[in-house]
């Protein structure tokens, strides 16, 4: 039986269809989830996709955090459900306190839209277990509020515990502290990443197929568990 991975659609989500496609290419079955419906339909993992949920009003992800589906996602994440937040999904996970820190306006105020090099720092997550530590990957970045910030003690703890999952490399596009592009929770089942692995899964449309590893990683993990 193939794994079933949910993709939440919020009002203003943009990348839910791409995430669903990437899930399929990774070998799982995508399941559409709806922001106003708390039912997760028994999915084996959840992706919070990119976009501008609720118009990014107040702060990115601040309203989405209180949606019906997020209550279920937060509870399930605490019980070990794999959750990947991409871009706006990362912002939402931070707002929901499922990940530490916050994402703020890019240092230069520029909306960054380009293929971005990252260095994989942690493969101790269900979303990156199939990648290689130190591997450089090229995946699209498209965000105006991707500057990762946290207080120094939080950053030190993330480093010490190996919870920085990926860093920007070659250059830092948005001023993120310590070049952080992705982080994980303590258990490693919840990951937030600012660039978009789901946009780098096919040679025709992506700058690489480096993003596919995130989806095949979780599928391998779920296959081992189920």
């Amino acid at each position: 039986m193939t794994a079933r991975i949910g993709v939440v659609t919020f009002p203003g989500s943009l990348d839910d269809q791409d995430a669903a496609r990437a899930i399929g290419l990774g070998g799982a079955t995508p399941v559409a989830l709806w922001h106003a419906n708390a039912d997760l339909y028994g999915v084996d993992a959840v992706i919070l996709p990119g976009g501008f949920s609720y118009g990014d009003y107040l702060r990115c992800g601040a309203i989405a955090r209180f949606s019906a589906v997020m209550e279920s996602v937060a509870k399930a994440a605490g019980d070990g459900l794999p959750v990947l937040g991409i871009c706006n999904g990362f912002q939402t996970l931070c707002e929901a306190h499922l990940l530490p820190g916050a994402l703020t306006r890019n240092q230069n105020l520029h909306f960054r839209n380009r293929a971005q090099w990252l260095r994989v720092e942690s493969t101790s997550t269900v979303w990156t277990s199939g990648l290689t530590q130190g591997q450089e990957i090229l995946i699209p970045l498209k965000s105006g509020e991707g500057c990762y910030v946290a207080d120094a003690s939080t950053l030190d703890a993330l480093e010490a515990e190996g919870r920085v999952v990926a860093r920007y490399t070659r250059d830092n596009p948005n001023g993120s502290q310590r070049d952080i592009a992705a982080v994980r929770n303590e258990a490693g089942n919840v990951v937030g990443i600012m660039p978009h692995p789901e946009h780098a899964v096919e040679a025709l449309t992506g700058p690489s197929t480096d993003g596919l590893g995130f989806f095949t990683s979780v599928v391998a993990h779920l296959g081992a568990v189920v």
Binding site: A62, E95, G101, A102, T104, R105, Q107, N108, L109
Partner: protein, 92 residues
């Protein structure tokens, strides 16, 4: 009016690129003696009954401000129904 005003500001240690952009624009206005500009949000909460400062504080804590990056201050605003009259001329 039962209004509580919440001012949300980025913490001092958090970079404010919007404020920086404003500072950088000021020389073009002929202004050279401004060292720093910080931009925040003013949020007006109108209660149906009496101003409920505790409830407003709860709203600010959980939704209006993100404690990781922002501080907030709140106050009950005195009746402002006749304050709008002169604002247009002052703005010039």
């Amino acid at each position: 009016m039962a209004r509580v005003v919440v001012d949300v500001m980025l913490k001092p240690e958090i970079l404010d690129p919007q404020g920086q952009a404003v500072v950088n624009a000021l020389p073009r206005l002929g202004v050279s003696n401004v060292r720093s500009v910080r931009i925040g949000k003013r949020i007006e909460i109108d209660f149906a009954g009496d101003a409920d400062l505790d409830r407003a504080k709860d709203i600010a804590n959980r939704l209006l401000a993100n404690p990781v990056i922002e501080d907030f201050a709140l106050r009950v605003e005195a009746d402002t129904t006749d304050a709008a009259g002169d604002a247009g001329e002052d703005a010039r």
